[in-house]
């Protein structure tokens, strides 16, 4: 293709991905990773609201010791719904399918993910799974807890377990499709010069996450299959009366579900690394260790599942080994925290809203991780297993950590995704409120659990009320903090000022193309010439950010200059098949 025939529908100067079609069809049948990210975003927002509604009802019930809002059975169904929706339909897909789908191909200078149609299929699978779960809710609900433990889920439950399990099963295939797609994309779609040692940690984090997804999720499918086969066809794998073993379900389930907690967490670590480097204007401290830590977590996470089963009657020796390995996995997690801190050291830190959320992530994740070490020691776990201590532990990591990171990334890339800026003061207020509200809600639960309040009960002894009431009040603040962004981000879509291509002067390749990006991302591929996060090499001081000396990951071009000649990089034309042909 000669330059004379430059196709203005592609690359720079081309209409943005948002204006590439306005029909519903152009969204529902899109194969553009950016549009699929938006589809996912819409879907998981709905799921988050449903899961949040269940949480609200539970916190209302727990405000007083007696039963005043729901029955015992209703409460069982609420926490099951909450857990199933939040884990599989919000947290697992949250960052990878929205920010990951949107940013990952841009960050490696690709036109799209390797298998765009598979990407769309994964959205349909996730939505279909979600609809199955919601159907089970409308039909009457499920009362087994998100863990589907047998024999609750096999012999003793008359609720719609099969339907919900099928929903999770189907959505699991969607997740596997996403993981597979990311791995192949990172291997085959990187722009020239973007070697493995130059990949942004956001990309590495998604790579490590994808490995866990691909090797973990099928175990969940196997566990659910055993339950469904018993309920529907009377197979006896989990039925003790015939020699089956309910504990086998727990093993297979946690073989997936412990790694799954890292499916939820690692992408957040990736997001936070991008943000901390950007707002501290520092190269990340210890890049090789950051990568090694991600990969180490991905590997070791498959060998600690038994720490959920210390009181299940598993062998004491097994418990000790699982306990030891759980301490081991804390090491790479701690390395990440230390390296983020060291990245801040000597940086020119500014506290824009993404940075506030990211700082919140680091603090809350650290607390959650440290409480995990308590749980990993057998004697303490025997004391606090199945109490609010565990509830507090995983909420610190999943809500304090992952959800904060999701909001951090959302605020960071919002200008790229929508092309608009949001009211910064409001965003800062929401970030701070979220941090305070979160601690207000969940810190009391550590105390409650230590005092002996078991999880999954809707009534409790009077002595716990103080802490429960505090937690419920905190939840109000937290709810406000979650709802605020709906308003100001929504407002920004209509009234927000145009953001410009690189509002934060960040170095990632995604900032080199227009905001919002054109349908095919880059007209000319950017060529990468150096490591990521070259902040203090080029413009150390925040005030210099306004200056145009900023270089995006060593491509030697400022974003504005890049597009002046109708291209976003200096590499080969992105759609030049002739040149690339075998």
């Amino acid at each position: 293709m000669s330059d004379a025939t430059i196709d203005v529908t592609r690359g720079a100067g081309a209409p943005s991905y948002l204006s590439a079609g306005h029909r519903i069809r152009s969204w529902l049948l899109t194969t553009d990773h950016k549009r699929i990210a938006i589809l996912y975003f819409a879907a998981i927002t709905v799921f988050f609201l449903i899961g949040g509604a269940a949480a609200t009802l539970m916190r209302m019930e727990l405000f007083t010791p007696g039963a005043d809002v729901v029955s015992a059975d209703g409460y069982n169904k609420l926490f099951t719904l909450h857990g199933v929706i939040m884990v599989w339909f919000f947290l697992v897909p949250s960052i990878p399918t929205t920010l990951g789908n949107f940013v990952l191909p841009l960050a490696i200078g690709a036109r799209d993910v390797a298998f765009p149609r598979l990407n769309l299929l994964s959205w349909y699978l996730t939505v279909a799974g979600g609809l199955l779960v919601l159907t089970s809710l409308l039909a009457g609900g499920v009362d087994t807890g998100w863990t589907f433990y047998t024999p609750y889920s096999s012999l003793y439950s008359n609720s719609y377990v099969t339907l919900a399990a099928m929903g999770v099963f189907v959505a699991g295939f969607g997740t596997i499709a996403t993981g597979l797609n990311f791995i192949v994309t990172v291997h085959t779609q990187r722009t020239p010069g973007l070697t493995w040692g130059r990949l942004p940690l956001f990309v590495w984090a998604h790579y490590a996450t994808s490995i866990i997804i691909v090797l973990g999720t099928p175990a969940l499918a196997a566990a659910l299959l055993m339950v469904v086969a018993e309920r529907l066809f009377g197979l006896g794998l989990l039925d003790p009366a015939r020699g089956g073993d309910p504990i086998i379900f727990q093993h297979v389930f946690w073989f997936y579900s412990h790694p799954a907690v890292y499916i939820m967490l690692l992408p957040g670590m990736g997001v936070v690394t991008e943000i901390i480097t950007c707002f501290a204007r520092r190269r990340v401290f210890g890049y090789p260790m950051m990568v090694a830590a991600l990969l180490a977590i991905a590997v070791v996470s498959f060998f600690v599942w038994g720490h959920h089963m210390f009181v299940s009657g598993q062998s004491l020796y097994a418990s000790l080994i699982f306990s030891f390995l759980s301490f081991v996995i804390a090491v790479p997690s701690a390395i990440k925290v230390f390296n983020w801190t060291a990245t801040l050291y000597g940086g020119h830190i500014t506290f824009e809203s993404p940075m506030l959320y990211a700082m919140g992530f680091v603090g809350l994740f650290t607390l959650g991780g440290l409480s995990g070490l308590f749980l990993a020691s057998v004697p303490i776990d025997v004391h606090v297993h199945d109490t609010y201590f565990v509830v507090a532990h995983f909420h610190y990591i999943m809500v304090g950590g992952t959800v904060a990171a999701f909001f951090a990334g959302l605020h960071f890339w919002w200008p790229k995704i929508t092309g608009r800026t949001y009211p910064e003061a409001m965003a800062k207020a929401a970030a701070i409120l979220m941090f305070l509200g979160f601690n207000f809600t969940f810190a009391p639960q550590f105390v409650l659990g230590y005092m002996g309040m078991p999880r999954r009960y809707h009534v409790y002894l009077d002595q716990f009320q103080v802490w429960h009431a505090a937690s419920s009040l905190g939840a109000v603040l937290l709810a406000v903090a979650y709802i605020l962004p709906v308003f100001y981000l929504g407002w920004s879509l209509v009234r927000g000022r145009p953001a410009g291509d690189d509002p934060w002067s960040a170095t990632g390749l995604e900032w080199q193309t227009a905001s919002p990006p054109p349908e095919h991302n880059f007209a000319r591929l950017p060529i990468v010439r150096e490591k990521p996060y070259a902040y203090h090499e080029h413009d150390e001081h925040p005030q210099e950010r306004e200056a145009t000396t900023h270089r995006a990951q060593g491509t030697g071009r400022t974003p504005g200059e890049a597009r002046a000649d109708g291209a976003s990089g200096d590499g080969p034309r992105a759609d030049d098949r002739e040149e690339a042909r075998e």
């Binding site: 390797a114 298998f115 192949v184 099928p218 197979l235 794998l237 015939r242 098949r577």
Partner: protein
């Protein structure tokens, strides 16, 4: 047998070269296979645990599966892998007729497997070898566990095979109509990988389910 390619065919988005697309498709399939291995692996490990616990019951029950159906089906499936391999290699050479013959034979053999399996299931049901059935003929109760694995594993395998047959027919259609440049796209190679996995899984299931208890 002429080398047929569709002149206008381009690699799929976002690939710029056939080679990249081929690499990516093959690599993606290997990843998928890895996840399949975990899925079957979970069932097989659980089988191992139970067999270790109840070896006597497993031997009693294992002697009740029908070794004739199992063995003939093993032979059929192994043959189908050969015809699949022929199709995959013929695709590289652009031998359209050989590819189509190979795929048709593969699909036919896969279908024959399912038919035989259906007869076998009918016989099993006739003999009440169904866990949970009040007329289950064997004792002790743990023999039901063996048959739970039998049904779960062969059932899941049959579902995979059914999907495989569908995929083979679809790809045969793609080749027939030259919807993509199948000589260079690596499509057949990917299909073959999946088909061989189904075969390998069966090779593991066969001794676990048919040879146990026939010492």
């Amino acid at each position: 047998m002429s080398r047929v390619t569709s002149p206008g065919a381009e690699p799929n988005e976002p690939f710029l070269s056939w080679q990249r697309q081929r690499e990516a498709a093959t690599f993606g399939l290997w990843i998928f296979l890895a996840s399949e291995v975990v899925f079957f692996g979970a069932l097989i490990v659980a089988y191992g645990a139970h067999r270790f616990l109840y070896s006597a019951a497993f031997e009693t029950a294992g002697a009740e599966t029908n070794i004739w159906y199992g063995s003939i089906n093993t032979a059929i499936l192994l043959t189908s892998s050969a015809t699949m391999a022929v199709a995959a290699w013929a695709a590289k050479a652009g031998l359209k007729r050989t590819v189509l013959i190979g795929l048709s034979l593969t699909a036919a053999l896969g279908f024959a497997f399912l038919v035989l399996k259906g007869f076998e299931y009918r016989e099993d049901i006739h003999e009440h070898l169904v866990p949970g059935s009040p007329a289950f003929p064997l004792a002790p109760a743990q023999t039901q566990i063996f048959f739970s694995y039998y049904w779960a594993m062969t059932g899941v395998h049959a579902i995979h095979l059914t999907i495989g047959i569908g995929a083979v027919l679809w790809i045969a259609f793609v080749v027939l109509t030259d919807r993509t440049d199948w000589t260079r796209s690596g499509t057949l190679h990917g299909l073959a990988l999946y088909w061989h996995l189904i075969d390998v899984v069966w090779i593991v299931l066969y001794p676990l389910l048919y040879l146990a208890g026939r010492g």
